[in-house]
Amino acid sequence: MNRTRQPTDWKGAAFRRRTRRRYAAERRFRLLGLAAVWLSAGFLAFLLASMLWQGASGFRQTRVALPIDLAAARLAVTPAQLRGRGADLALAGAGLEGVVDRAATQAYGGAGTDLLSDGAWLVVRDAIKRDPAMLDRRVTIAVPVDSALDVAAKHDGNPQAEATIARLTAQGVLTTGWNLGFLTAADSTDPTRVGIWGAFKGSLLTMAVTIGLAFPIGVLAALYLEEYAPRNRWTDLIEVSINNLAAVPSIIFGLLGLAVFLGTFHLPRSAPLVGGLTLALMTMPVIVIAGRNAIKAVPPSIRDAALAVGASPVQVVFDHVLPLALPGILTGTIIGMARALGETAPLLMIGMRAFIAAPPSRLTDPATVLPVQIFLWSDDVDRGFVEKTSAAIIVLLVFLLAMNGLAIYLRNRFETRW
């Protein structure tokens, strides 16, 4: 063993080749990463663009001008009846729907009533409520057209409807406007009358129940497990169970909700309360896991510091550990809540897929939620529901973005710079 080691030739060809290869590997890796980012950004942009493209028309509505002689119709309503809550009932009782149908026949011939949406007379009703003086006049009101015509006007209808639209366009009686009813109404069988408000409110109530239960229980469970629980077989078992719960398919939680909340406790079917409870079961493990990780990440030196000035364990937790862990806990909560908001399967099991034509006003009212509403509309045979489905998806995404935005704002507010 008396071979001596040659001095390293740092400038030799072999080293130059090695350096070149290293640079190439570096470049390759960076390009791959960049490609991955662009690809995912591209998919996201495509998704959003196609949603907006298809859904935007769901917020628009085709209307036809309907001349209507309200003075001649002699509706049996007094101006006093038109003020206050009884107005809708008074106008319906006075036969306004028939008046509108006759006006349509008069203006557009025998098939005139087929041009109008079933909800056309409601538009006339609302116009009268806004301006009771028109009862003594001959007025022209733009009312929504029938769904098939609406679809045709948006260049997607059947030939017959397209022809009708072409005729009406030539007469110059068609207009388009914002469909505000889509944001204020609930589900309906007629696509021109459907609205997202019922499902939106259902989602809102359900999410309120979910976060109201899952957040405090999840955070307290995480705090107890991290700060107080002894390390033994039982806590290990609990930890494994929680990790497994976070991975259980959501439909199983639906079955659990069906069996426990509906079967055992006899809570009302289709209610946001039950939906919220079921989703809370699903969200809690996510919050517990994120919470435990965030609590674990709080430096022990802070706990020592607080203990050493004589803080009790509860004071250590609530004055120091929790505030420092909160950003991490909120991140987990965002993930859990976003998942819960988009969840459909478990809610089908507890009956939130029913046709519900009135927005819920209490936690125990029958309701549906946005993703289930989207699922129901996407299943409908009527062509008019296609754009409504996309429009509902836009509303769901906006809701999701608003919720996440709020959570991220909160997280940044609580974030501590070290």
Partner: protein, 252 residues
């Protein structure tokens, strides 16, 4: 005369491992006591038994008796929270709360209800910061974060935080090991100033520091208290061979 802290036959176990082996030591009210010894000799462990910080380690077990003013601090009747308020602690690494300088100092008095009016609290904060020699440097930015200070300032802030609850004893666990020589000198000066008002126990790796700040020195080795006496005697005329070897740098 009664001692402020009197430890008798104290042993500490981590699980099956014995970290401290039958140590007895007395700390007097107006003294600074230094614990010296090689790394892993148990001096920090012993320090942490004096305010029961070892309670937070699940496997730790303490036997023997530690009296604070004649009262057994491991007795079931002893309130740990109050004990830790009476026996304050400063750690190796400066660990201010990620809150404002004011809040760092005010936290202790606030949780113990020592101040009822805002003015009282302001006074306590100012007094503590003055005693910690930090007031002039931070008086204009009390609402800045405590973590924004320099390392030496952070450590003095931690001392101010400990002083603010008006303890009787202050334990310091290598308070200067993360600091530069200038900051170290400031802390040592501070310890001189605090002497007499508080009984101080300081763990240090730096023997010059022990010689400079303390009146009594305890030399630990392998979990045992080898020698305990007046600092002058330990450094000039140790009784034990092991002490002499350590002080002269033969090991450690």
């Amino acid at each position: 005369m009664t001692h402020k802290i009197s430890a008798k036959d104290v042993s500490v176990f981590y699980g099956a491992k014995q970290a401290i082996d039958h140590v007895s030591i007395d700390v007097d009210q107006d003294n600074v006591v230094a614990f010296i010894g090689p790394s892993g000799c148990g001096k920090s462990t012993f320090l942490r038994t004096l305010n029961r910080m070892n309670d937070t380690v699940a496997s730790a077990r303490v036997t023997g008796e530690i009296l604070l003013d004649g009262e057994d601090i491991y007795a079931p009747s002893m309130d740990v929270v109050q004990l830790r308020a009476r026996v304050g602690m400063v750690f190796q690494k400066p660990n201010p709360f990620p809150k404002s300088i004011y809040e760092n100092v005010a936290y202790g008095p606030r949780i113990h209800g020592l101040a009822t009016a805002r003015a009282d609290l302001d006074l306590m904060v100012e007094q503590s910061l003055r005693r910690a020699g930090l007031w002039d440097e931070v008086k204009d930015r009390l609402s800045d974060s405590g973590t924004a200070l320099s390392g030496g300032q952070q450590q003095r802030l931690c001392i101010a935080r400990a002083i603010a609850v008006d303890p009787e004893v202050i334990l310091m666990d290598e308070p200067c090991s993360a600091l530069d020589p200038i900051a170290t000198a400031k802390i040592e000066e501070l310890i001189h100033g605090l002497k007499g008002r508080y009984a101080i126990v300081i763990v240090t790796h730096n023997m010059q520091q022990a010689a400079r700040v303390s009146q009594q020195t305890a030399f630990f080795h392998l979990g045992q208290l080898v020698e305990f006496g007046r600092t002058g005697d330990i450094f000039t005329n140790p009784r034990e061979e092991r002490t002499r070897d350590y002080i002269t740098g033969r090991y450690g």
